[in-house]
């Protein structure tokens, strides 16, 4: 296959991806690379410090500070104290937060700081306040920046050297990606969600399945998803190694943006909508690879191993290493089962869990918490289970409290925490103990991700809630009879 090139003629039917790259190309640098203008650069406290230091060392400034914003998200503790009292006790983590504020103040960059009532996970905070708009290029020193494709914005994660490059130039040297289209038609069955869909897709195409590609989702099942569900889908597409995920913005997406982006005034609104409506792949646009899924086949999915593609329907049984295609796969399954402490042939359903974590940039939004509440209503957290809910942001937390979700969950025995990334990657003090098994709404079941020797099972919020009330991996459809 030929490598994608910005030099190839941009005539004829174009993909949405190509339209987004072309509209941000300051200059074509060579056959693979363009200098790409970046509308919005999000930063956090742990992947930006060395970038600011690099700027200082070269006496470089930030020419367009208004296109950059920072959020304290990863290291912040989530203990339930008032916003103004949120203190980071761990000295190096506290230094990361104060250092971020220092750097932002110095360069005129706006910040959602530790004690800000709207603080939260960067990928929850930015879209909920209307900062993400269709057609934008959004980058961040965080791999889950693919989230923004849900609104027709090209989002992708970058490293710290590139953070420095964006700060200094508001551009990136960008190597063009190949294009993949994943069509999902049909209706998601009751009890299944976008999380189950993306787990199924990753299981099918593999943790490397979209490596080198930007994935565009289309089909009736995608159109039926809420914007928050689309965030979940695009967010986790990076776990198939994708360089981006996109969904053409429709009326649902435009409504989401316009209700939040109140600074888009009447003089701009008509032009904005007219432009956003051009943001779709043209009929007959060519993709480098295509897949199709039927939403009706989706079941609740749960990971059993240490890679997001090691996943099964909840009704499934743990695979046998000897059934794998080759030696490498066999070793991989053996190692995963040794780590997750599961036996080949055993039923996934019924596996006892000690911890439940509900939150993250994948599933820490209000609809996720509503889904949890719907399962938990009238039930209690099972004995011996520690269940924690960490809302994705201060706004999500406030909303859940206003809707009575917080009271319901607290009454059922959940810990109701302050916002942050928390146990998704356990950079703060929310960490699994060795051997603990966790039903988690997060995005990565890597070895040690949630704590050394912690065992992570990725699943939807409803499935995590079902596990919380039964104490084991449970098919939420069985828990809630469809009457």
């Amino acid at each position: 296959m030929t490598e994608p090139s910005p030099l190839a003629a941009a005539t004829g039917p174009l993909t949405l991806y190509r339209k987004l790259v072309d509209s941000h190309t300051v200059a074509v640098l060579d056959a693979q690379n363009v200098l790409l203008f970046c509308d919005l650069h999000l930063m956090n406290e742990y992947t930006s410090p060395q970038a600011f230091t690099g700027l200082d060392e070269q006496a470089r400034g930030v020419p367009m500070p208004g296109q950059n914003v920072a959020v304290v998200s990863h290291i912040i503790p989530t203990h339930p104290v008032a916003p103004k009292l949120r203190v980071i006790a761990d000295p190096p983590s506290a230094l990361q937060a104060t250092n971020l504020k220092h750097n932002c103040d110095k360069h005129g960059i706006r910040l959602f700081d530790t004690t800000d009532a709207m603080q939260g996970i960067e990928h929850v905070v930015a879209p909920e306040h209307g900062m993400i708009r269709p057609g934008m290029v959004v980058i961040c020193g965080d791999s889950h920046t693919t989230t923004y494709g849900a609104l027709g914005a090209l989002g992708f994660g970058i490293g710290t050297t590139e953070v420095e490059h964006v700060l200094a130039t508001q551009t990136l040297v960008y190597r063009m990606a190949k294009t993949m289209r994943i069509r999902v038609d049909g209706k998601l069955p009751v009890g299944t969600t976008a999380k189950d869909l993306i787990l199924k897709i990753i299981g099918k195409i593999g943790a490397q399945g979209a490596r080198g590609y930007v994935v565009e989702y289309c089909g009736s099942a995608i159109q039926d998803l809420s914007v928050e569900a689309r965030f979940t889908l695009c967010n986790m597409t990076v776990e198939a190694a994708a360089r981006g995920a996109l969904i053409a913005p429709d009326d649902v997406a435009l409504d989401y943006v316009l209700r939040r982006a109140s600074d888009i005034d009447d003089t701009q609104r008509t032009d904005a909508i007219a432009y956003w409506q051009t943001l779709h792949s043209d009929a007959n646009a060519a993709f480098d690879m295509e897949f199709a899924f039927d939403a009706a086949d989706i079941e609740p999915y749960v990971t059993w191993g240490t890679s997001p593609d090691q996943v099964l329907p909840v009704s499934g049984h743990i695979p046998f290493p000897e059934d794998q295609m080759d030696d490498a796969d066999q070793r991989s399954v053996e190692r995963a089962l040794s780590y997750t402490h599961l036996s080949p042939g055993a039923a996934l359903e019924g596996t006892a869990i000690q911890h439940v974590f509900i939150g993250s940039c994948t599933n820490g939004r209000i609809e996720d918490l509503r889904a949890v509440a719907d399962v938990v209503r009238g039930r209690k957290v099972a004995d011996g289970v520690r269940a924690m809910v960490v809302p994705g942001s201060g706004a999500v937390r406030d909303q859940a409290e206003a809707e009575g979700i917080a009271a319901l969950l607290i009454d059922a025995g959940f810990e109701w925490r302050k916002p942050g990334c928390s146990m998704c990657l356990a950079m703060n003090d929310d960490v699994l103990s060795p051997g603990e098994r966790c039903a988690s709404t997060t995005n990565r079941n890597f070895e040690g991700r949630q704590g050394r020797a912690g065992r992570t099972h990725l699943m939807s919020p409803a499935m995590a809630a079902a596990a919380a009330v039964t104490g084991c991996i449970t098919d939420v459809r069985q828990l809630n009879p469809l009457n």
């Binding site: 208004g66 709207m118 490293g159 050297t161």
Partner: protein, 214 residues
């Protein structure tokens, strides 16, 4: 000939697919504001047991592989988190190059930006090479950036880097400095872009100010 024209050293096997950056550089080593001390965190849970004692059975802890400069790794090495700390840690540990069937996308860019050489070879070649270096800790792997060939115990193979990455690797270019030469172009682009799409100008600043202070 610069130190980046010829990379050579002992190769060690890491026969795990999808070795993610969480494992390469665990979270507890990400709390600094500089790049120092990351050699201590490299592959920490593999190198050390739960009490912090070195695991004698892990390849990089074995005296015979003390001089490892090259890792021979499984597919999608460096997948997952964007943390560049993984690259810095590998380099601080003494690793100059990694050979694998494939790499995580962000990790690949991070490595190129730091002159950590990443070479992709077919999976069957990697399997054979993995076995060969595993069997002989006195092995030698040499990457020639002039001829774009890697010499290994099982043969010599061509490898590819894009022209841009190759020159970045050989010359250690200041990429930001190069882009800043186009500053006038960037500013001109931005003016035209914001004229067409004014709702994107200062989008971060305007949103934050609309929300007020809390």
């Amino acid at each position: 000939m610069s130190a980046f024209t010829l990379i050579e050293g002992v190769g060690a096997p890491l026969p795990l697919p999808n070795l993610d950056t969480d494992q390469i550089m665990p979270k507890q080593f990400l709390r600094g504001i500089d790049k120092s001390g990351l050699d201590k965190g490299l592959l920490y849970d593999m190198r050390f047991d739960e009490h912090g004692a070195p695991r004698a059975d892990f390849v990089l802890n074995q005296p015979a592989w003390r001089d490892t400069r090259v890792l021979v790794a499984g597919a999608t090495f460096g997948c997952g988190s964007s943390r560049e700390h993984a690259v810095w840690g590998l380099q601080q540990f003494g690793i100059r190059a990694v050979i694998a069937p494939s790499f995580g996308e962000i990790f690949y860019s991070n490595a190129m930006n730091n002159r950590l050489l990443l070479v992709m070879l077919p999976r069957d070649v990697i399997e054979a090479l993995m076995n060969a270096v595993d069997a002989d800790s006195h092995n030698a792997i040499a990457f020639d950036l002039q001829t774009m060939q890697v010499t290994t115990p099982i043969g010599t193979f061509p490898f590819e880097l894009s022209a841009r990455h190759r020159s970045m690797f050989l010359q250690g270019l200041d990429m930001i400095g190069l882009s800043l030469r186009q500053r006038a172009d960037i500013e001109r682009f931005a003016r035209q872009y914001w004229q067409a799409y004014p709702w994107t100008k200062n989008v971060a600043q305007r949103t934050r100010e609309r929300l007020g202070t809390t």
